[in-house]
Symmetry: D2
Subunit: 364 residues, 4 copies
């Protein structure tokens, strides 16, 4: 399952890229990253709204949606109403979808049909098994076509699927919680040392940007500030990603998300037991070996544990752990920025892999 370093050849030219659905938090981060990406030239990226986000079909301005981006590259600051003809005319080769799940589900076949590669940041294509995907209640207008697309979709976690990503046409960019937990657990679960009978407990905490830009009673400052709350116990949509990517059953892993009173960042505290006592050095070796070709995962030396400030506004996932004195219980702490390694940054990392660039290009 783990991806090797490979030897992809860099492509000769910079692909023409576009982002559809630029208004959200992840869209804004994606714009920022792409505008300063060293491998993209001045024709990239182009920005497109979701339906209804620009006034009467007239182009809007990126700085109106994301004021902190004004005056950075004024010539690239227009936001156009989404339109397939315009996309084709512009010769777009790579399309980022930062659109709602349903819209991504609907649009992808059109893009692929036009020969455009897609990196989709929604949950539309992450889950291969209907039993897991059911939580999204998709009603595909052309189920056969959807099934074909689904079969093509690669789960865009480069640390696990680097080789498949290189040649993929459709990347399903992982969920933020799922990324933080999968990166912490994949090496351990694959080692065969984890006692799966007792189950793995994942207690995850995320900043408010994870709840999206919509103003609701839960994103109201008066609810979120000075507070902490658990939600979606036994029922969060990212659970299916854990099951599929780690090859576990719902009896073997459970995950509880919490809403933190901070703008961004995820910290997951993960509890597991080993089937036999191990040494701290064994755990270190398992992680180091697994991530030796992965520049965006940093292992903190025990007893230092990562915290959210270490990773906020970076594309790193930081891992650290503490082993009980008897060598049988492990606590892993995994931190990342939900808008970067958990969304826009990982999307750019996937692009880097697809085009044979340094995996961390434009991300440091």
């Amino acid at each position: 399952m783990r991806a090797g370093a490979g030897d992809a050849k860099p492509t000769a030219h910079a692909p023409r890229t576009a982002v559809a659905g630029i208004s959200g938090f992840a869209g804004g981060e994606l714009a920022r990253l792409l505008l300063r990406h060293p491998k993209l030239d001045s024709t990239s990226p182009q920005f497109y709204s979701r339906a209804g986000e620009t006034d009467g079909g007239k182009p809007g301005d990126l700085a109106d949606l994301h004021p902190q981006l004004s005056a950075i590259r004024p010539e690239s600051s227009k936001v156009f109403p989404f339109n397939w003809d315009r996309i084709s005319d512009a010769g777009i080769e790579l399309l980022y979808l930062a659109t709602p799940h349903e819209q991504s589900r609907e649009w992808v076949s059109n893009a692929i049909g036009r020969g455009i590669k897609v990196i989709d940041l929604s949950g539309a294509w992450r889950l291969q098994y209907p039993v897991n995907r059911n939580v999204y209640h998709f009603t595909d207008s052309d189920p056969q076509l959807a099934a074909k697309m689904q079969a093509e979709a690669i789960y865009g976690c480069p640390e696990l699927h680097r080789d498949e990503i290189r040649t993929a046409r459709l990347i399903a960019n992982p969920g933020c919680y799922a990324t933080s937990i999968i990166l912490a657990l994949a090496p351990l679960v694959q080692s065969g040392l984890v006692d799966l009978d007792c189950g793995i407990v994942c207690d995850a905490k995320s900043g408010v940007s994870g709840a999206g830009k919509a103003a609701t009673s839960k994103t109201h400052f008066m609810y979120a500030a000075d507070n902490l709350s658990a939600y979606s116990v036994f029922g969060h949509r990212h659970t299916g990603e854990l099951l599929e990517q780690l090859n576990l059953t719902s009896d073997q892993i459970q995950f509880t998300p919490h809403l933190l009173p901070i703008p961004r960042g995820i910290l997951s505290t993960i509890y597991l037991r080993f089937t036999r006592p191990v040494q701290s050095m064994d755990v270190t070796t398992i992680f180091r070996e697994f991530y030796k070709y992965s520049p965006m995962v940093r292992l903190r030396d025990t007893p230092n544990l990562p915290n959210i400030q270490h990773v906020v506004r970076t594309n790193f996932c930081d891992l650290g752990f503490e082993l009980s004195r008897d060598g049988k219980k492990l606590v892993v702490v995994s931190c990342l920025d939900n808008l970067l390694k958990g969304a826009a940054g990982q999307a750019v990392q996937n692009m880097n892999v697809m085009y044979g660039w340094e995996e961390s290009e434009g991300l440091l």
Copy 2:
């Protein structure tokens, strides 16, 4: 203008009180204060919703609206749909309105007509001059009746209008920003020492609860947190209260509100010049003399200045000042809790004055 200590006689019985419009932040604080007020008996208070806030006319539960109030006095926890007959049948003698401006404007005459006293927390009745009141765009269905009510309304700042409040039937509870600025300035302006030609500058900052419970782009955690923003420059609705209560023109005072990334509290920094050099002791004397009968105003000793933590969750307004070395420029800092001294707490303070109780009863 300043109110003396007077010699009101305590009333013999506890009035039956009700709160209409219990769902907002001020309504919740009012419920908390009244439920534990020592002078109110077990029949008080009764809680009523605004229109549309309870499901199909069935009574709701206070703890659903304000979970932190659950299990305090379970027998008083019902919230009824607002209904004049029910109010009359219950023998309500004092009605708090924590309703939108327009609803307060409309309801008051009905209450007064039934012999019920009203303490209105909205902006409906605070402004006597149409030129100031216009910012609310009221369209009174019976303008003559509205004018009669308006003429009766007493601006509910006990430190300024204690005597009128004692006998009032309609109290217009002051705005939160206005209270913090008026209490800082009334003694100084009355002293005649302030240079009004250069104008008084009031730079005020408020926590997010001042923006209300509605989920909007401005109350979204991602906007309000880690931020500060100025708004309504030269145009905030509380400006009229400053003009009327301090007897100033708009050329003599200006006020800019800011949104602070905290749940509650207001700090106003006020800048003025004196017509002649004064001593720090003079300023202290002006304040102490003015507030000698006012238990809810605390003057901090220079050079200590109040800050928001000193007053949050209290009904105090804390004042402090710093005089320039030449004795000509003064900076006054005024702090209060916008939901208490700036809303619910001042409303209870007004009730205490109306019924001849200790002014700080139930507020310490």
Copy 3:
């Protein structure tokens, strides 16, 4: 283990109380609660500093240490240097110690020897077994006397030890994390339904006041704000309280604390498995039965879970839970205010029990 309602007789008079070590956060909350406690008369409480906290033996002022307490009861606002003669002369009958662990360990026998009851808020007397107590590294000057005191100490969790508290001379007020976890788990563990082989996982998160008033790199705003960090994994001092009060081994329960970017409040998320499938109603019954005489524990109805805002600035511990669909896995969420139910509030609750008053007296 669970405490019944009993039938203690109220005592006839108000005990003279004092607080030693008034400068910290818990000391400030204790002052606030005692100053307005309905059963204490105007001679109570008296406030004493820790060594070195007042200038040259001169009394200080409570409002200098806790500005938000100024002007509440000015006649009770002095803080005296701690001195046993003064304590005796004042006829103190109940002494709260909000002092460092070591000082509490040293002072208690002196107080008991003078016939003064003690409620100690430190960790000095909470742990009966040396193997657990060793984490504090106490060096008792008179080990025999210390052992005698230790044997007398009652763990001051009224929900578990109400009867012993009534007649105790020395109350060891529980730790904040420990209280939140013990109240969530005691009913379940006693039910015999918990699968202890797989172990109970307690993921606890606390606001910064739990880290104390000392300015350190961890309590610096720039570290604590916009952050979350795990600490003391497998090694927090409150672990021993869990083991002793729940009668578990360190293999059966583990606990990881986290530092939340909020001033106060604890939320513990607790994961356990049942030995056989149960129904949601069974769990509700277990909790309701256990806490039927406990006014300070509130069970939220599933699927509502408590959050920190529900309990902050109250003495409640709120519990809620979610059961997996197969009835085998349970997640319990427990919330309390670390300075109240986790410290000063529980201390006052213990006083209420000791003197036969309503358990929630002065705490609602």
Copy 4:
């Protein structure tokens, strides 16, 4: 006073740079900016500690001081104990001092004597007039040499002194508050339209990073969070910078700083009166004209006002204003990131000017 665009020639080679005093917040930001600056090659920058910051003369690791910088450019991650011989041996040509005021005051002549240019981030060299500089209480060991250095120092605000900066050997990087106020006022004061008799009021608010990394009672989370406080009224050290750079007397401008409960960012609200009524367009023109060659100042279109989120983690200073209806009163809002445009970013901007690069190089 305003600086023109000039026509400096780019230098051929990248200067060898070093930062002394790397441990603070500004030092960390400087490291981050220089490590990714496109014009600096792999030998730059070198990092040096302040005295006492590394253990026994052994080099430390940048990632230990600033964990978020780990794994970015591992080969440049060492922090050496400061030592003039090492600085000389390394051929350093440009030295950033992020050291305490006194150390900067002492070290500069040594650097200049060795032919090393200096950009000093402290307050050591910002003030030309002793009457203003006295607030720092410097005791120069060689007053004559200090006077010579002082005469050479250029106030490093490129928007005002671009030409002098190009050829300077010693740059006094401006204070954070001062930058935000000077950039807002310089165009207006120079226009001659401001009524200086009534005085300009500057109400400034800064995040906690402005208070430095030292753990104190004021930087404690429990003090800073959920709070706002004014401090140093009439006495802040940056006042002298305003007087000297704007050529005003202390009777013509006053400035009150406040501590905001956020990590970083400054918002200054500035109040002034015009000597005659003006139009909004006049004010816009004054700003646009003044800053036409200044890429790091952005003017927001009225009625949009900048807020702190627009500028945090950028080197921009955003300006916006609101004019009273009578055209006589102006409120200017000025926002910047105190660690970037208010410190490390402006320092890099100064380097860009000194070496003839794009002024925004490495800063977008």
